[in-house]
């Protein structure tokens, strides 16, 4: 009981540290920008007098001391206030909220495809020629720019074969090629780790015992080694969920889809720093939520982790 409590407290502390660190980084991004923030947001062509600039500064609160700005930024975050976009003149939460839907659809489908592909590759291509083919495919996919994979899929399946639409987001069919593009590198990474994990599990003594009891190879994999191998794949998957947002920037550009990736790119090109800071906070929030979920899921998947969530293998001399 007390151990579970300590563990929950530990998770909570690390959640707070990551979110606070992200908020500080996001705030610093405003401060270390070369040149004056107001001149940057107005653009190099703007002919604006100093008085007007001072007015904008006062309106945005940029004339206050840095520490006051920092504290009011943190205070705003506690109320879910991410500030206002320089370019779009509306709250950052609204900018992000409007474009969240298409990106969540894209990344969720991509994650599903990646997990199915990785699982299939790790389970069905374990030995011999099939394994060689899968290993080579993983190397090629991981070495290719994700936007190039997208362009190749477009050239073959949209332009040549005409199976899928070229761009847009109106029909479900438009989601298939972008999701596959985003999924392939993720599938390759998870597949590698899953296969290594299963192989490592089957070299352990318990696998010999299971075989000696007369279990078929299929039963050994499905009932025993997959659970062992899945533990590290799960940790990796949690990390990769965050990276899907970075990938979405490229994939949404290739397929001309609306979404958070496009919002991020526009904010970067226009140097709309409040929106960039909002994306940083969103990414940190996703990281935190996914990692807490994984912490909770781990004991259910890995048989070596007890309810305490800690790996407790008895040392050789300690066995009774």
């Amino acid at each position: 009981m007390s151990r579970a409590l300590i563990r929950s407290a530990g998770i909570l502390v690390s959640v707070v540290i990551v979110l606070w660190g992200a908020a500080t980084l996001a705030f610093l991004a405003f401060r270390i920008i070369p040149g004056d923030a107001v001149s940057v947001m107005l653009g190099p062509q703007a002919q604006v007098s100093e008085e007007v600039k001072d007015g904008i500064r006062a309106e945005l609160g940029l004339d206050r001391p840095p520490l006051v700005q920092y504290l009011s930024y943190l205070g705003g975050l506690l109320h879910g206030d991410l500030g206002r976009s320089y370019q779009l003149r509306m709250p950052v939460t609204e900018v992000i909220g409007r474009q969240l839907g298409p990106t969540v659809q894209l990344t969720a489908l991509a994650l599903l495809i990646a997990l199915v592909l990785a699982l299939a590759a790790a389970l069905f291509a374990r030995r011999g020629f099939a394994r060689g083919v899968v290993v080579a495919a993983e190397l090629i996919v991981l070495s290719s720019p994700v936007f190039w994979i997208g362009l190749l899929l477009l050239a073959v399946f949209a332009f040549t074969l005409g199976w899928f639409p070229v761009a847009g987001s109106r029909t479900p069919a438009t989601l298939v090629l972008p999701a596959v593009t985003l999924a392939l590198p993720v599938a390759a990474l998870i597949g590698q780790v899953l296969r290594d994990g299963i192989d490592a599990a089957e070299r352990q003594p318990f696998a010999e015992t299971v075989r000696a009891r007369g279990a078929t190879p299929a039963r050994l994999v499905l009932r025993h080694s997959l659970r062992h191998g899945a533990a590290s794949a799960l940790t990796l998957t949690a990390y990769l969920v965050g990276s899907l947002l970075g990938g979405a920037v490229l994939v949404e550009t290739v397929f001309a889809r609306p979404g958070l990736g496009r919002v991020t790119l526009a904010a970067i090109v226009n140097r709309d720093l409040p929106v960039v800071a909002g994306i940083i906070m969103l990414s940190a929030l996703v990281f935190v939520i996914v990692n807490v979920l994984v912490e909770l899921l781990h004991p259910l998947i890995d048989p070596r982790l007890g309810a305490s969530g800690r790996f407790e293998a008895p040392a050789i001399g300690e066995r009774r």
């Binding site: 990551v18 980084l25 070495s143 936007f147 050239a155 990390y239 550009t253 940190a284």
Partner: protein
């Protein structure tokens, strides 16, 4: 079979290096010369990789792009290696509290996906080739810092360092002569594998229009230019992408072989 793969990877990288240092040996056309009458021509004897919307020779642009595309990735990796070695090794010998602060900072940086970190750095610094190299460096450096710090902690108490200390070698000298070279060795292996992902990240930023500007030949930028005419002219996008993929595969294969050698097992 393994040896053949290593040879092919090495030869391909030599070809990229040749393209970077002496592009005129590999491409006869001018990468910037436009010719509207020769726009969007498919691959032929005259233009082996075809021509783009402005009639520029795609082969010449791929060859001349090598210096910039592979160069940015290489530069970013080298910077990450040096910065990682300096910060990580210092953290490894720093007082406990300084080490703890530094590790929490890298923890937070590691919480963000690499490509997103690179994007944010470009948002702060502004677009351009040099800024892309800095952005990719900052995105990659936490991993180097972590490895350098762990290796420093391990090597400081290694037997050969203890032996040097007992023989009367000073603390600073033992650190520089016996600890740092070992750390550098492990970081170099990481860097060889890391070159690939650095090239991919830099190409991604260029593809989004945040890197070198037109009309400079750069592989990621060429792919972006080919996107709008993909239905009519696949060659504009396919060849620069192939150049990136082959470069990254070659670097990864060599890096993995190097790592296997360091760890004393077969590749």
């Amino acid at each position: 079979m393994k040896a053949a793969g290593l040879w092919i990877a090495g030869l391909y990288l030599a070809l990229v290096a040749l393209a970077a240092f002496a592009p005129d040996l590999l491409a006869t056309h001018d990468p910037l010369q436009t010719d509207v009458r020769a726009a969007l021509q498919p691959p032929s004897g005259e233009h082996l990789f075809g021509t783009d919307q402005s009639g520029r020779d795609v082969l010449a642009r791929v060859v001349h792009g090598a210096a910039r595309s592979a160069g940015i990735g290489l530069l970013a990796t080298a910077l990450a290696l040096v910065a990682g070695l300096a910060v990580g090794a210092l953290s490894g010998i720093a007082p406990r509290w300084a080490d703890a602060v530094l590790m929490r900072v890298t923890d937070i940086l590691l919480a963000f996906p690499e490509f997103l970190v690179a994007l944010i750095v470009v948002a702060v610094l502004g677009p351009g080739g040099a800024n892309v190299a800095i952005a990719v460096t900052i995105a990659a450096v936490p991993v180097y810092i972590r490895l350098a710090r762990t290796q420093t902690r391990t090597l400081r108490v290694a037997e050969h360092v203890e032996a040097a200390r007992i023989l009367g070698v000073g603390r600073m000298r033992a650190f520089i002569r016996h600890v740092v070279p070992g750390v550098l060795g492990s970081l170099s292996v990481l860097a060889t594998i890391g070159i690939g992902s650095a090239i991919l990240a830099a190409a991604g930023l260029s593809f989004l229009g945040l890197g070198p500007a037109e009309p400079q030949p750069e592989w990621g930028l060429m792919l972006a230019g080919g996107r709008n005419v993909l239905g009519q002219a696949w060659w504009i996008s396919v060849f620069p992408g192939l150049a990136i993929t082959l470069t990254v595969i070659s670097a990864t294969v060599l890096g993995r072989a190097l790592r296997a050698r360091m760890e004393g097992r077969a590749a």
